[in-house]
Symmetry: C2
Subunit: 586 residues, 2 copies
């Protein structure tokens, strides 16, 4: 029975940085070769990064991806790595991609994988199942492939697949069984969700059974705007046994020897098999030299606690947003409350204390403990702490305008926003905003006030989870004999916006223990009013909460809409990544 030493390169590509991503492939292929690998896998859309959104419609971008693929094949050979087959995701197109638009859908591009060997592209595969739900819009961008590519490597027949091909039954995995392959490679850009790792393993097992073959699943890591990719690469054999599994949220080279059945079918042209898919077979090598040295064992990483998993996701997401967009540092307001404290701790874990500026922005309504807790947080984390009282600025507005009530409350939050943006302009840091998901859902925030900022580390974290994260992070620090970053007082105190005397969140909102389950049902679960009440929630509170959520939609979409009159207005019909190193100009 042949043995193949697989190297799954769980790496962190950057959208648009085609040259940089190609360099990552070269350096990690070197590492894989040093570990004796016989077949190397990189993630989906490795060369371009993922997702590239409407960059797909730029001919120059597609052309750059294709040119880089050819150059990469040559460079790997020049590096002395040409004998090692390398599978890499890239953006392809049948011809020049169409410009999208009415009556002229933007079709023609391919979410593709190429096998590089001896300086050439010896096989390509086009993704068959295109996801078009949740965060995915691949029907907008790509044409489905209808061919299963099978390559013979070391006498083993190996099928190529991409991401969603794994998530839907039928298609490539079913065809792989008919084609009699021993190994299916599945390259991914699969974004993190809490507990998704608990879904992935059974899914890989199911497909391995469907294909009757070992499955090697490699996923990228890293942040891309709202998305964070968590890795979790793994190898599962045809019987469903987990052979190796990489950790989440870190780059990792997973090298593992896999026993595989020898190829049975002749390599002779195309066949038409199930689901209208064709099979195309290519011979790369019949025999490979046996792997050198000891047997390679990739090891199996055990899952971590939910709080640890989320914390790592938030840290990586923020770090990559800041670094990939080349911000030198971040600045955030420190109110002494739990949201800014947790955000600051995430920022310090992501960037180190020297790249985090925390500003206390007291007004006349700020309590003594607010300032003390902010200062305590700064001491615990070592971040760059400043104090900038806002009352003189607030007073200048009050002296020159006739304002009362909520206008005065919001004024304070907006002055804080102006101060933080002025610091950002003056010194360069990215402003972080720190509203949690519960606040965002019900609109309990000030538009252009505390919502000012370029990134929100806790945007998708319900308030009750904020508290759990804080407690976990402190306990984890204590467990490791380190200083816990978050002041106990910030965790224990009653939440308050401190925009009017004695104000508490509970004046306006139900307790978060009551609020969050309703929001989770309504927002995450798409339950209606009746469904929420049937799950046991108080009808009066349900109505109150739903009213707030329904009317807060505008605050969640700050960027002002405006009437579209052209083929490509900014907004709905022009969707580009923010984090994007692609540059047309010289």
């Amino acid at each position: 029975m042949p043995t193949l030493r697989l190297a799954l390169c769980q790496v962190n590509p950057t959208v648009g940085d085609i040259a940089g991503n190609a360099d990552v492939v070269r350096s990690w292929t070197r590492k894989a070769a040093d570990a004796g690998a016989q077949l190397v896998l990189f993630p989906e859309m490795m060369l371009t990064g993922y997702p590239v959104e409407d960059l797909v419609f730029r001919r120059s971008f597609v052309a750059a991806s294709k040119a880089a693929l050819h150059r990469l094949a040559a460079d790997l050979a020049a590096d002395g790595l040409g004998e090692l087959p390398v599978l890499v995701g890239y953006l392809d197109a049948d011809g020049p991609p169409q410009v999208s638009g009415d009556a002229q859908p933007g079709k023609g591009a391919r979410n593709a994988a190429a096998l590089l060997h001896r300086g050439a592209i010896v096989a390509t595969y086009f993704k068959h199942h295109l996801p078009n739900y949740g965060v995915f819009d691949e029907d907008r961008y790509f044409v489905s492939g209808n061919t299963l590519t099978v390559v013979r490597i070391g006498g083993v027949d190996v099928a190529l697949t991409i991401c969603e091909d794994l998530w839907q039954a039928g298609g490539p995995f079913a065809v792989a069984r008919q084609a009699g392959v021993g190994l299916v490679l599945n390259i991914n850009g699969s974004p993190y969700e809490l507990n998704k790792d608990d879904i992935r393993l059974p899914l890989v097992r199911r497909r391995a059974g469907e294909a009757g073959a070992t499955v090697a699943y490699v996923n990228m890591v890293g942040g891309q705007d709202e998305l964070v990719f968590d890795g979790d690469s793994m190898i599962v054999n045809a019987e469903g046994t987990l052979l190796a599994r990489a950790p989440q949220f870190v780059e990792h080279l997973l090298v593992h020897d896999v026993d595989l059945p020898p190829a049975k079918e002749p390599v002779d042209g195309d066949e038409e098999l199930a689901d209208g898919m064709r099979v195309v077979r290519t011979k790369v090598s019949d025999i490979l030299p046996a792997p050198t040295g000891d047997v390679a064992v990739g090891g199996i990483i055990e899952p971590v606690a939910d709080e640890a998993e989320v914390w790592q996701a938030l840290v990586l997401g923020l770090r990559d947003y800041v670094n990939k967009n080349r911000f030198p540092s971040v600045v955030l307001g420190l109110s002494g409350g739990i949201d800014s404290a947790v955000s600051a701790a995430i920022a310090v874990d992501a960037l180190g204390p020297d790249r985090v500026v925390g500003v206390s922005l007291p007004s006349q309504h700020s309590s003594e403990h607010s300032r003390a807790d902010a200062e305590d947080l700064a001491k615990r984390t070592g971040l760059d702490y400043r104090i900038q009282p806002i009352q003189p600025m607030v007073d200048a507005y009050l002296a020159n305008m006739s304002l009362a009530g909520v206008a005065v409350e919001n004024l304070q939050a907006r002055v804080r926003g102006v101060v933080l943006m002025a610091l950002s302009n003056q010194e360069g840091p990215l402003v972080l905003t720190t509203g949690n998901k519960s606040e965002l859902a019900v609109g309990y925030s000030t538009l252009y006030g505390d919502s000012v900022g370029g990134y929100n580390p806790v945007k998708d974290v319900w308030k009750t989870l904020i508290w759990r994260l804080a407690k976990w992070r402190n306990a984890d620090a204590e467990h490791r004999g380190e200083t816990s970053p978050i002041p106990e007082s910030s965790i224990g105190k009653a939440p308050s916006a401190e925009l009017s005397p004695g104000q508490l969140d509970s004046d306006t909102l139900p307790d978060y223990d009551v609020l969050d389950p309703i929001l989770i049902g309504y927002v995450d679960g798409d339950l209606g009013r009746d469904g929420l009440i049937a799950s046991g929630h108080d009808p009066e509170i349900v109505d109150k909460v739903l009213r707030m959520v329904d009317t807060a939609e505008y605050k969640r979409r700050q960027s002002a809409p405006g009437t579209k009159i052209s083929h490509k207005a900014f907004g709905r019909d022009r969707r580009l990544p923010i984090t994007n190193r692609w540059r047309e100009h010289g």
Copy 2:
């Protein structure tokens, strides 16, 4: 040859206002009946409004649409209108719609049309071609229909189709020819683009030829967030002759008598025809009483000048955003410049002068003519004019912080934003922001400064078009013997942000006559650097402009991204209309 009197109801539904939209159907069916109509058509998704985006995933919303359809059929009969066949768009679903998500695509919903007659739903049709490009994401929301519905009305065979069915060759129109129908109804939610009317007519002609039948095309009017629907309903016969055409941007009842061939095929069950589509035939009525009174002639509206068309689109888009979201009024800063002057004139045309507050916000860098031009604009339009100097507030920041350069420039714009938002909180108006598309493209604006606002009337208008619009609007007023709204001085002066002494746009940007063609090529045309240079642009200027556009992406997406950790983060995977009257709560 039978004659059918068609009534095309070019109306303005509101997303989520299912009861209100049903009322519109009842009142317009009454008008159509009064005009002797024998068949009445309403737009795509009439009952729910369009597009409803992720509301599709709410079971309660789908259930409400279906229930409203049944109620509407009964109500029309109770109104004494039951004999009149009425075609209405609505949201259907085979079963309870799936919640969208990984490995569980949100499928099952239908973009549907129903024919109501004698208190019942006598036929339904599910949209076949689903657009998934530009502003459309219908593969995310709907399943394709594969049945062509043919109804016999007054002895004529009539096929039902929806919007995109018209824009793609093959499918329903080809099948309609095989089915031998005399009339194809096509109901639309087709958003406006400049000159789209010039594309629509040839397209309707082509499909009429393809079907060998008369085509009745009805489109909605009205604003929905960034989209504005322009109507332009029409009837074209099988030979391609335009029989009747409604005006753009206004509600309109287009009633026209059409001679149609008598049905040839027997009404006997299903047939399988081209493209795998089935045909289902239903008899509504063999004979109708002849239309009463004079022959109905809908008339043919001639196209208007581009500037008039765009102006009407901008006015309607703003009016509906404000009114459908129930804002009492709008407020905007008046700098004396052309962008705010044009925006104010649009606002006054949309809402009347009593609902528009214009605020001059002078700083120490504001020129005398800025204030004079703002005042002149206010006098010409009759809007509610205020003056709020900002220097005291600016000075309060400068006295308490160490700021210089761009931080000081931006500070002034941000103080203006805070003042406008304070007025909004105090008095209730929606803040309008007025950055033109050229500025937005190159990022020539202050984040959280002049970009503050809930709606931007000129978001999609290039600067050179802003000037053309201003001149056209003034000339049009003079032509009608009215006061021209926009001061000549605002049109003629050199553009300036007035944030530092003597500052001009041309210090930073190429002349707009040079800039706009490059931006149009890059943004609207997806041309790359090489393509732009090949079209004759100066390489150095191209590089400068592209650098600005590529780095301004973040400003165009103000709402802060944050790491997604859940199944439904706010943002990419939860897409809801802002203008949305749907309310779950009691």
